[in-house]
């Protein structure tokens, strides 16, 4: 049954519905269809233009399909192009009519003009119709072999288009291997680039089902391919360079010499005017040097100037994208940027999204030497006409106060804010003063003197009012008229709309009561009565609770409501370090702009090609510190979180790298040998000391997983590994959420540590090695992560015969000690031992083949 025709809608009232016009066009097109008269092409051009313009504004002109096709028999290339555009747009809705176009497109694919061949091939592949794929294979095949590079570039992308219409057709025609051959030998760089784009996409999608594809996908990351592309990097245009650099990021060099070679080769890319090229290069540099602390820090120093230049050149939009990345780096290593604080001053004409980033950066880089100037600058913004930014600035001052040792001067500034008598300034400041007092109770005397002068009538914002009330309760012994202010607030109970404020009011009056009972008793009674009658559930409950508590025992009540307080030493960070590391791993992507990792805003399939370890979103893992690490080392590791802030040490070491942007890069022999000797002498725990992989991060992951507390290891009495009679389903599939659920439900049935043998450990250079190996034994990986020497995997397998029970495995490998810690969970307990034996024997053969 065909659905009833929808009323034609125009996307905006200002645009015509176009119904009558479309009918008109139809008639005119018919008139001109067969005409070969001189001037006919010009008339057709005008008609085609009209059609395309309707198409653009959203008027449906699909009813003209057959007329357009009839008119397309022409040698006029402008007409041809417009027709191709039209056909590409509407073919999907008219699969039968689209067949009409095949003929002339196929003919054009054999035209002697390479331009026509390319155009026709592109249009042919853009029809997106499954019923026409049979017509694509021939022209694509000859397109890939065409002697004109333009046709080959079109054909390479054409293969990808075909893959999206019909993957089977594309694979059956063996196009991927043709592309691979072109990738490695074509003389035209753009052909190579398009082959790379197409292959990345095809093999990433294929890898889910085909082992061969995932092998091919990894082969792209092999040394010969990477070096081949890197050596040609200057032949590529700037956009293709970004593509290649994105690939290089995923390459894992075998030693530090290789790392320096790559960096030397790419050094001049940092001077490129295109920000995308520079950021892609920076990502390569940062990721290559992650395990070399000193060099990593040199990289920070090296990239600072180019980043700042990009921020200040180009359009506002471009500088925002770069500034977001600079923001990320500043947040990771604020000490390295502390002398650059003036670059983060706001300019009056900047949009607020830029100012917000800059304020956060100013807050982060503040230290003893620059705080005075930064705070002075921030105070200027506090009087700004842009109220949201003024608020942010005040908050920034407060944050600096909370992170500094010497808060003396800042407290004075904050108190001066209160004298400005601007409502929003007062409101923000009160909230800050409250937090400040929670951290530095010793300042209460100075603050209270000023806060006491503020009339509660001038404070309207709930957060600020709550802060004021909190201070009145907390310091009622020092504020002469605290009970009376609170009393008057209670009298106006019904006018107070915010439940938050009423809750604070209850607590404050009770605290006040414990300190100055005779003056407060009456107000307390009134507050409790009002609270009990309150319609808000929380307020009502709190009032009732206080009432009963007081009834039960006043001194118990005091110890509950007003116990002696400890000063807060650190306010909780809003973002876990694990999340921050994930964002850093996704440098040069939207994750940085949104300040959240990709699994929070993108589907798995859209995370981009080559996303190996991301299958489970929240489930993917960093490097877990093996349990062999002693507690002392753990502490050391987390202290080293601040690793990057030890900049003084670095600066004193000889002339720095970035003296002149034109001197050859100083990743020379001396620094190599230095780094080399470092790699030898430093124990492998060095890796765990990197901020990216702290033990805390792992705890956070386990929480995210909801896996609960880790289970005590079972006795290590392993059954003798006997030839397993168990058969596994080679095509087992489980989706991440099911895995996660099962993992949460099942308890650990077996947990053990086994030795992998040095060969296996040596073979395990990337997580993918093990993934492929285990796949060969019908054991699938659902998530993996880590860097040498620590890797973590989640595997699963399914029994082949009934019941088709799943086995879940968590496996942590340390290649340094060649040990693997394995936790098994099984749905079918009876075969669990058989499976674990099978798993272990599979693991032990890694690197043997």
């Amino acid at each position: 049954m065909a659905p009833p025709a929808l009323p034609q809608k125009s996307p905006s009232p200002s645009q015509p519905s176009g119904k009558g016009e479309v009918a008109d066009l139809k008639i005119q097109l018919r008139q001109h269809a067969g005409s070969r008269a001189p001037g006919a092409d010009d008339a057709k051009r005008e008609l085609f233009k009209k059609v395309i313009s309707y198409m653009t504004i959203g008027v449906d002109v699909s009813s003209l399909f057959s007329e357009m096709v009839m008119c397309s028999a022409t040698s006029d290339i402008v007409l041809k192009k417009m027709c191709y555009l039209y056909v590409g747009n509407y073919a999907k809705g008219n699969p039968d009519l689209a067949l009409l176009t095949i003929n002339f497109l196929q003919k054009d694919c054999r035209d002697e003009d390479p331009m026509i061949r390319g155009l026709a091939l592109r249009s042919l592949c853009s029809l997106r119709l499954a019923n026409l794929v049979e017509y694509l294979v021939g022209p694509l095949g000859s397109g890939l072999k065409d002697n004109n590079s333009y046709v080959r570039t079109v054909a390479a992308i054409g293969v990808l288009k075909l893959y999206h219409i019909s993957a089977a057709t594309c694979v059956d025609a063996d196009f991927p291997s043709t592309l691979k051959a072109l990738l490695l030998k074509d003389s035209d760089a753009q052909v190579v680039a398009n082959c790379l784009s197409a292959l990345q996409e095809i093999w990433s999608l294929e890898a889910a089902t085909s082992e061969e594809a995932s092998r091919e996908r990894e082969a792209l990351l092999s040394k010969p391919v990477i070096y081949y592309l890197l050596n040609r990097i200057k032949e590529f245009n700037e956009w293709a360079q970004c593509l290649v650099l994105d690939l290089v990021v995923k390459y894992i060099p075998s030693d530090s010499n290789e790392i320096f070679d790559i960096m030397n080769l790419l050094e001049d890319r940092l001077q490129h005017a295109n920000g995308a090229v520079v950021l892609a290069t920076i990502k390569v540099f940062l990721h290559l040097t992650l395990s070399m602390t000193d060099v990593h820090q040199q990289v920070y120093e090296r990239i600072k100037a180019p980043l700042l230049t990009l921020v200040s050149s180009g359009s506002q939009e471009q500088s925002y994208a770069v500034l977001s990345h600079l923001h990320l780096l500043v947040m990771r290593a604020p000490m390295l940027f502390s002398s650059d604080y003036k670059h983060f001053y706001c300019q009056y004409n900047e949009p607020s999204y830029v100012k917000k980033l800059k304020l956060e950066m100013l807050t982060a880089v503040a230290n003893e030497s620059n705080t005075y100037e930064i705070v002075t600058e921030l105070c200027e913004y506090a009087a700004n006409v842009d109220v949201p930014i003024a608020r942010e600035s005040i908050r920034a001052v407060g944050k600096i106060a909370l992170q500094q040792y010497d808060v003396n001067a800042i407290v004075d500034r904050l108190l001066q804010f209160l004298e400005m008598e601007k409502d929003y300034v007062t409101a923000e400041t009160l909230v800050l003063v409250k937090d400040l007092l929670r951290k530095y109770p010793q300042w209460s005397h100075d603050c209270i003197a000023v806060v006491g002068n503020i009339s509660s009538k001038n404070v309207q914002e709930p957060k600020a009012k709550a802060a004021l009330i909190w201070m009145l309760g907390e310091y009622s012994q020092d504020m002469l008229d605290a009970p009376y202010i609170l009393e008057s607030l209670i009298e106006n109970w019904d006018d107070e709309h915010s439940a938050e404020v009423r809750l604070h009011l209850l607590t404050a009056i009770l605290k006040c009561f414990f300190k100055r009972p005779p003056e407060t008793q009456k107000a307390l009674g009134a507050a409790l009565a009002a609270g009990l009658a309150d319609s808000h559930q929380d307020v009502h409950d709190r009032a009732l609770f206080y009432y009963r508590l007081l009834q039960y025992n006043v001194s118990v009540a005091e110890s509950v409501v007003n116990p002696p307080k400890q000063a807060v030493s650190v306010f909780a960070d809003t973002q876990s370090s694990e999340i921050k590391d994930r964002i850093f791993d996704e440098f040069n992507s939207l994750s940085v702009i949104y300040q959240k990792p990709s699994y929070m805003f993108t589907d798995k399939e859209h995370r981009g090609p080559f996303e190996f370890s991301e299958d489970l979103g929240s489930l993917s893992v960093g490097v877990e510190s093996a349990d062999t690490v002693s507690p002392a080392q753990r502490v050391e590791a987390s202290d080293n979180d601040l690793l990057l802030s030890t900049s003084e040490k670095e600066e004193s070491r000889g002339p720095s790298n970035n003296g002149s942007a034109y001197s050859a890069p100083v990743y020379d022999g001396s620094s190599i040998s230095m780094a080399a000797s470092q790699t030898q002498s430093v124990p492998t725990f060095q890796n765990q000391a990197l901020p990216a992989y702290t033990p805390q991060a792992i705890l956070a992951i386990d929480d995210l997983l909801g896996l609960g507390p880790s289970v005590a290891p079972a006795p290590a009495a392993a059954p003798p590994p006997s030839p397993p009679p168990l058969k596994l389903n080679p095509k087992a599939v489980i989706d991440p959420s099911t895995f996660q659920r099962k993992w949460g439900q099942l308890s650990v049935s077996l947990s053990k540590e086994i030795s992998m043998g040095s060969k296996g450990a040596a073979a395990l250079t990337t997580p993918q090695v093990l993934l492929r190996h285990m796949q060969g034994h019908s054991i699938q990986c659902i998530a993996s992560g880590g860097q040498a020497p620590n890797f973590k995997f989640f595997f699963y397998a399914q029994k082949a015969e009934e019941p088709a029970a799943f086995y879940l495995v968590e496996c942590v490998v340390n290649t340094f000690s060649s040990k693997a810690q394995i936790k098994f969970k099984a749905e079918d307990q009876s075969t669990n031992h058989a499976f674990s034996a099978l798993f272990q024997s599979a693991l032990s053969t890694l690197g043997m083949s």
Partner: protein
């Protein structure tokens, strides 16, 4: 990779729309425009990159198992495709639980969607840049490099301008078929192919319909969108790279513009708090045969500050040496002899492009000194005195100067008093945002100008009037002046013939980026 590219006018009309991958639900342009227009209540501007959920009701192109191929309710005639009706879905579910008749089909629709897991549709990422009063937009669902997409959008705008000569709504509408030709070659299936004006030439067959640049309103309604654009209006040449001159013969010429944006912040005592120059050497070549060009800069130009803090002013006083903090170059530039004699060698591609971007925080002499004063003058009254002194040579003239200063919120009337004999001055009190504006057509080097403004308040002013007003900000353009003293010593065109002597235009211009004096 990107999914779509489109250009919207300020009213939200599609001028050009190209879908490359077909993976973004329709209606994306409208969703985008609404988002940008109503970003937040507090008048914040939408950032150039954001994510927006496709409205559930818009995923229309799917085949529902219920047999419904559209979002049309058979019973009540309601059309759920309308993206403007964002409340549609909640109404559907409400009505369904209320057992209303209409719901039968609609509810089925909702269930089908739930079955497809479409309630968790992931968002579409929107990128946009504002150029010449137009919104250049791109969408994607992939976690791409934001810099890449924003650069690309800017570059597409530039390529279009190269071809059309003038980029604005009118020229785009007249030439949209040509623009489609370009877009076909610039991006294929979401992957960038080339943005080189030169390479694209062989694929463009439409003749541009050139819009007369002279008749263009200089700013007009597009002004609000021009604000962020650091590119200068007026300097770029309004000539298409493909269109023929009326005379039929192409004129051999090359333009080199040294454009500097300066940012200065003066403290209330007139001391320079921060200063920076962001410069670009922009080139546009109309030379046939693509000859090689040598561009020589100051011989004593030095780059980088040897690791010292770049705000170390004391070190920079050593006469006349131009020290850049950093710079970057267009990929066509060869730097082989740059270290020796500060010469750039390049074969300029067609179209406009930046040869070099540079940044300088070395101390320089600011072109204008600003003196601002606000003091009480009786009850409910105050007087503002603004003084501008032009600190540059008298044979140079600055133009289109605008001085702005926020005044206390409770100001309700302002009367202005200009110097006797002042010409080309405009004064205005912007009541809505409580700001006084003083415009000057031109200022000759060495001259000084004063404005007095008498403010009337609606209430008793606060004790500290200084905190209620300011800072003073200033915008201006100074042709043939550059603050950095970076010079093009010579421009050499390598072509043997003696008769060949193309026009060479080397132009300097300085503009204010953020020029602020605190009071």
């Amino acid at each position: 990779m990107i999914s779509q590219f489109f250009v919207l006018s300020l009213r939200g009309d599609n001028i050009v729309f190209r879908d490359y991958r077909g993976d973004v639900p329709k209606g994306s342009a409208e969703i985008f425009f609404r988002k940008v227009k109503f970003w937040k209540e507090d008048e914040e501007e939408a950032p150039p990159v954001f994510e927006a959920m496709p409205l559930l009701v818009e995923s229309t192109h799917l085949n529902w198992p219920c047999g419904n191929e559209d979002n049309y309710c058979y019973n009540c005639g309601r059309d759920y495709t309308d993206p403007r009706d964002s409340a549609a879905l909640s109404q559907v579910s409400r009505r369904c639980t209320g057992q209303s008749l209409c719901s039968a089909k609609a509810w089925e629709l909702v269930l089908c969607r739930a079955a497809f897991g479409l309630f968790n549709l992931d968002g579409v990422n929107y990128f946009h840049v504002k150029v010449a009063g137009l919104l250049f937009v791109s969408t994607t669902r992939v976690n791409v490099s934001p810099s890449l997409v924003l650069e690309l959008l800017q570059r597409i705008a530039r390529v279009i301008k190269d071809y059309l000569g003038v980029l604005n709504e009118d020229s785009l509408r007249k030439n949209f078929v040509l623009v489609y030709e370009l877009l076909d070659e610039v991006i294929d299936f979401g992957y960038v192919q080339t943005t080189s004006t030169e390479l694209l030439k062989s694929y463009v067959f439409n003749e541009p319909i050139v819009v007369d640049a002279a008749r263009l309103p200089s700013l007009g309604p597009a002004a609000m969108f021009m604000q962020g654009n650091k590119r200068m209006p007026g300097t770029a040449v309004t000539k298409s790279v493909v269109a023929n001159e009326p005379g039929g013969r192409k004129r051999e010429e090359i333009f080199v513009d040294i454009i500097e944006k300066i940012s200065v912040t003066f403290s209330s005592s007139g001391y320079i708090l921060t200063s920076e120059i962001d410069g670009t050497i922009q080139m546009k070549s109309y030379l046939t045969g693509n000859p090689e060009i040598r561009l020589a800069l100051n011989e004593d130009l030095s780059i980088g500050r040897d690791g010292r803090s770049i705000y170390d002013y004391s070190s920079s006083a050593g006469g006349g040496v131009v020290i850049l903090d950093d710079c970057n170059f267009h990929e066509s530039v060869h730097l082989d002899s740059f270290d020796i004699d500060r010469t750039l060698t390049l074969v300029p591609p067609d179209g406009e492009f930046p040869v070099m971007n540079y940044r300088m925080t070395q101390e320089f002499k600011p072109p204008f000194r600003i003196n601002a004063l606000i003091e009480e003058a009786g009850s409910f009254r105050a007087e503002v005195i603004l003084k501008i002194r032009a600190d540059f040579s008298s044979n140079i003239t600055a133009n289109t100067i605008l001085v702005q200063m926020p005044v206390p919120k409770y100001t309700n009337r302002v009367s202005f008093e200009l110097e006797p004999g002042a010409v080309g001055n405009t004064t205005d009190f912007r009541e809505a945002n409580k700001r006084i504006e003083w415009g000057l057509k031109k200022i000759v080097g060495g001259s000084e100008h004063t404005l007095r403004a008498k403010l009337t308040f609606s209430q008793e002013p606060h004790a500290n009037l200084m905190k209620e007003a300011g800072p003073v900000s200033m915008t201006f353009t100074i042709p043939m002046y550059n603050a950095s003293r970076l010079q093009v010593r010579y421009l050499q065109i390598a072509k043997k013939s003696k008769t060949y002597n193309p026009y060479r235009w080397v132009r300097y211009v300085t503009q204010a980026n953020s020029y602020v004096a605190r009071i």
